[in-house]
Symmetry: C2
Subunit: 389 residues, 2 copies
Amino acid sequence: MSTAFSPAAVRTLADPDTPFAVVDAHRARRNIARLRARADRLGVGLRPHVKTAKSLDAAALLHDGAPGPLTVSTLAEAEAFADAGYRDLTYAVGIEPRKLPRVTALSRRGVTLRVLLDSAEQAEFVAAAARETGLALPALIEIDCDGHRGGLKPDAPGLTGIGRVLHDAGCLDGVLTHAGESYSAFTAEERRAAARDERDAAVTAARRLRAAGLPVRTVSVGSTPTAHAADDLTGVTELRAGNYVFFDLVMAGLGVCAPADIALSVVVTVIGHRPEYGWIVTDGGWMALSRDRGTAGQPQDQGYGLVTDLSGTLIPGLVMTAASQEHGTLTARDGAALPELPIGTRLRILPNHACATAAQHHGYHVVDSGRGTSASPAIEAYWPRVSGW
Amino acid sequence: MSTAFSPAAVRTLADPDTPFAVVDAHRARRNIARLRARADRLGVGLRPHVKTAKSLDAAALLHDGAPGPLTVSTLAEAEAFADAGYRDLTYAVGIEPRKLPRVTALSRRGVTLRVLLDSAEQAEFVAAAARETGLALPALIEIDCDGHRGGLKPDAPGLTGIGRVLHDAGCLDGVLTHAGESYSAFTAEERRAAARDERDAAVTAARRLRAAGLPVRTVSVGSTPTAHAADDLTGVTELRAGNYVFFDLVMAGLGVCAPADIALSVVVTVIGHRPEYGWIVTDGGWMALSRDRGTAGQPQDQGYGLVTDLSGTLIPGLVMTAASQEHGTLTARDGAALPELPIGTRLRILPNHACATAAQHHGYHVVDSGRGTSASPAIEAYWPRVSGW
């Protein structure tokens, strides 16, 4: 788990070989507190998604150190969090038959692991597994609110039939909706509307199931943009969001956060200059940043990321505009002067998409900007990531 | 290293939990033999780049099991290959001062690890380290042939001065060029021209250094497109390429290979259907495929990848067109019928960019299509990857 560095071994961001990922725990705590306060005001529970950080140490900040409710994106995450004492998990990717043995193994260990499905076919095999094993295998029916990905429309004729199959096997837990299209909702009003659509879809589906005599416990909604915009979650039992712990330039581009809220960055080193092209070359390419170009479709394209000095202060006008496997190219925007950054200079890149950039690393060196600004912040811990499937 | 499965434990691609990466060793061996035959005909040595596979087992195919010359993209690769007995390595990313201790540590172990540089600043600190340690620290001067990334133009005034600094410290090994722009050379003639420019840049720089009385041993060129197009490498001592071991849809789009040469794929499972949108949903998203969309700028955009059945046979007209973290969306192209693929069906995705997709996995399950076609090919080995920096 967390590896706290002993005072004798105190190191700073000037020390580890680059590139490496950094989490600013102060910003992460602030982001977590912000959404928790919102959920409290809205009167719903919070079931954070751990797919972004994939870290037991980061997750410990979500529920004040308690093993509270979480959403996971892989069975590897479910197993790692179960090993750490978490007992209330939702696996938010549609279930397929070959994954059931790992689901039932977790259930046998006393873990409530809700599975997700949107077809009669899946309901049948989950129900069959529950009957065969005698285990409670709680399932959520995925509801589609915006045509983003999976799910049944709330008025789909098949909904109550699926609910019946699950209920008869003791598996029906509730419904789940994710407003994935809210990632392109550029105004607060659009995000509020997306949050209402997300809520309405889930609540409508739950109402239809209840009207058919099928008890619904969980009515789960969420995405980082809608979670920060929802103004009324009547009928909803829990809110999900994941990206918000770190945030990123896509969320900043939407206006959900500011660049100064982004808790994840990648430390890189200047390894070359091409003054004839206006380029500064670093050792941080797409292997360290990911290929994600999520801001490319936004009004302000942020390239592969914005650049800060090692303290975390933005260098105005400098953008990472190109990446090969182990090379990044920084250029000045809109006629800004290219700063003098000699070979060996360390910089931090704020990423487009925290989930994708974090996935390129085994873990995070952790700093805490709440202790004040430093030209080379002290590393307080190392948080490993859960990886694989 | 390679984990050979015992006959009692024989498994097939139907067995491991999805998503997972697969290498077809037959195709990889064929790709390797093809470029080796070219290098033999051209009369140059081959120094394959291991940045794509990052696997000791895959590298064992490159030089008939011998620890021959390799190119690496990280010091982590250099150290892993040194541990396995490789003694002739080139680290093809510009060096910076903080990485020198790991370079000198490898040199002390008897590893010839050439470093790369393109500035007087770098030459000075490499020379200083060589003098200080008394170690031979061979260096290559990076030459830019096409404005792609780093390097000095072959006629750059500073070239011989840098050569002199290196030579006086016993560090001058030679010059290295990479025609990165050849990744957008769509005809064989354009690639032949790029290969000539690459050769000319390296040979011109070497001639200038020699004319200044500076001995040049290595004249290194290469990229997968130019290595497969070069018709005359007079003056060049070695050819580098990496992607060619696996190939991918970007290379197929250029015409450097055919889709049937692509040795890397990712096995995914169907987890849902959205007939109203014409979507089949799988459990392979960008976490398994990477965010790379390298064919997006090609005449034929292949989305996130082409789809085959588990045997490796292409399913005509089916493309992976969207990805979220753990979801992939398959759609039919150009009015093709969407095939009937029930939940639980396993498929293989041929990736845009093998380097980026391979990087999303800890290793490869290995099959061998040279043993005949099978509806569910036997897994013959597991090849772990080197990761991190």
